[in-house]
């Protein structure tokens, strides 16, 4: 059921369309096996909603083939040549041809666009892994946006929003720097996470070393070298570093496996954590409930399981109000 429209009793069209798109891309561009064909057939037979989403995206995929009509005979062909090639096919109206040419020019621009900053983002509940050409990996957690710029001299990532796990192939000649607001984290051969919140930045060091600098470079920059187990919390003016147990760090990385791990966590904090991953929001109704403590491992996008646990274990009341799940005494 939908995060958004569950209160209407409707199917989650976003989830269905995402699944349909996966099927089509795999079917069209992957090694499509009989097993996958069977899985698709079963999925389509499951509901009309699935079937229609599949039709719609399949048709969209076919329609984008229209731009394939502009495919040049050899790489690097001039635009004029493409214009001639397409002319007989679509010469019914001059306007159509003009549009086709414009499309061709745009397609070429995309192909030869210099690779500078590349943007990646995930939606609420999303999780993606990016493999960089230098062998480094970046995992994006829920609702996260980053920009990457790689040059021969350095590697830069801007964490514009959210949280990411960095597994960096160290290269002394080509430093890897993560920028988040005022702070910079420079890799010295490392695995670490950076989580950006409204007023603070959280850097957890898993392996290796990294240098954290907070504030404008120059006079009042605060700098610290982080070692494994270090968790640095940087606000505008301060940096606090604490050492965490291995298990605590591991739990905090649960999102990489799609789970949230709580250990004696206040309900309000747990709810806040869930709300990062779901459109359906958990609201803790009163202060007494907010301070109750809960432990356990939950799928990060199954907020209902969390509500059930709160109901069953803590004996709380759970009610649904629009998109919210309200938990109270």
């Amino acid at each position: 059921m939908s995060d958004r429209s569950a209160h209407l009793g409707l199917a989650d069209s976003e989830a269905i369309s995402a699944r349909a798109a996966e099927f089509i891309v795999e079917q069209q561009t992957g090694e499509w096996s009989e097993a996958e064909e069977a899985a698709l057939a079963a999925w389509i037979a499951e509901s009309s909603a699935n079937r229609i989403a599949y039709w719609k995206l399949e048709a969209a995929w076919d329609r984008t083939r229209r731009i394939a009509a502009l495919k040049p005979s050899r790489r690097g062909a001039r635009l004029a040549e493409i214009g001639r090639r397409v002319w007989p096919v679509l010469s019914r109206t001059a306007a159509a041809v003009a549009l086709v040419c414009a499309g061709g020019a745009a397609a070429f621009y995309y192909l030869h666009r210099p690779a500078q900053e590349q943007m990646y983002s995930t939606t609420v509940g999303g999780h993606e892994t990016l493999a960089l050409d230098d062998g480094s990996r970046i995992e994006l957690n829920t609702d996260t946006a980053i920009r990457i710029a790689m040059t021969g001299k350095n590697r830069k990532v801007w964490l514009d929003r959210g949280e990411a796990y960095f597994d960096i192939r160290h290269d002394a000649a080509r430093p890897f720097v993560v920028m988040a607001g005022n702070a910079r984290v420079t890799d010295l051969g490392t695995k670490f996470t950076v989580r950006r919140e409204e007023k603070r930045l959280n850097v957890s060091l898993i392996e290796g070393r990294a240098q954290l600098e907070n504030g404008e470079a120059g006079d009042n920059a605060r700098s610290a070298v982080l070692k494994p187990g270090d968790v640095a919390v940087a606000t505008r003016d301060t940096v606090a570093i604490t050492r965490k147990r291995d298990q605590v760090l591991k739990d905090a990385l649960g999102w990489r496996r799609g789970v949230l791990v709580f250990e004696d966590t206040e309900l309000s904090a747990a709810a806040q954590e869930f709300n990062r991953y779901n459109r359906k929001k958990v609201v803790v109704a009163d202060a007494h409930t907010a301070h109750l403590r809960i432990g356990g491992t939950f799928p990060s996008t199954n907020v209902d399981a969390f509500a059930d646990a709160a109901e069953a274990i803590l004996g709380l009341h759970v009610r649904y109000r629009g998109n919210d799940i309200v938990i109270s005494r």
Partner: protein, 196 residues
């Protein structure tokens, strides 16, 4: 679709075709040709008559499901009128279920006629509109998704080749293609002026 002169409720009830049920591929073609092109106007209709914009994609999809389920039994004579009546019924059902509070009563539900008065699309306009939409849709894609789609659909590269060219894993290429496809579908079928 050409006959929009009579939009009384009796005429939008589905009638069985003499040939009986359509085959599945025919039904698919019928749906793609007659129902999907209504998406932009259906979205506008739903938006006008529903308070919560974030519900619109699910409402739209439920409308499609109802139209399709009904068409499986009997094919409606006038797909457009039937689709709008279905959307209207859906909203009425939801309001009646009292699970939700209607927007300013359901007074605007009769905006149905407005949507049906729109001129039927002309083939030439469709062709031009299609390219314009495609262009716009491509422009609005995230850069990497656009690059992946163009390399695949224009250059005709395989997924592996796209991965090599973009210097990313095949899995990431798949992700870009999937995201790109969804965004393109929205732009192609939806309201050109905004997201659907």
């Amino acid at each position: 679709m050409s006959d929009t002169s009579d939009t009384s409720r009796e005429d939008v009830t589905p009638r069985a075709r003499e040939a009986g049920r359509m085959s599945a591929p025919d039904l698919r073609d019928w749906f793609l040709a007659n129902v999907l092109p209504l998406e932009a106007s259906l979205v506008r209709f739903l938006r006008r008559n529903w308070r919560n914009d974030s519900d619109i994609p699910d409402l739209l999809h439920e409308t499609y499901v109802r139209v399709y389920d009904s068409a499986q039994r009997e094919l409606p004579d006038n797909a457009k009128a039937f689709a709008f009546a279905t959307a209207q019924n859906l909203l009425t059902d939801l309001v009646r279920r009292e699970k939700v509070v209607p927007i300013e009563a359901a007074s605007e539900l009769d905006a149905l006629d407005v949507a049906l008065d729109e001129p039927g699309p002309d083939r030439k306009i469709i062709a031009r509109d299609e390219l314009r939409r495609l262009q716009l849709a491509l422009d609005n894609l995230p850069p990497r998704a656009r690059e992946a789609i163009v390399l695949r659909q224009v250059e005709g590269l395989t997924r592996r080749e796209v991965a090599q060219r973009m210097q990313i894993t095949e899995r990431t290429v798949k992700w870009h293609l999937t995201e790109g496809l969804r965004a393109l579908a929205k732009a192609l079928y939806g309201d050109v002026r905004g997201s659907s």
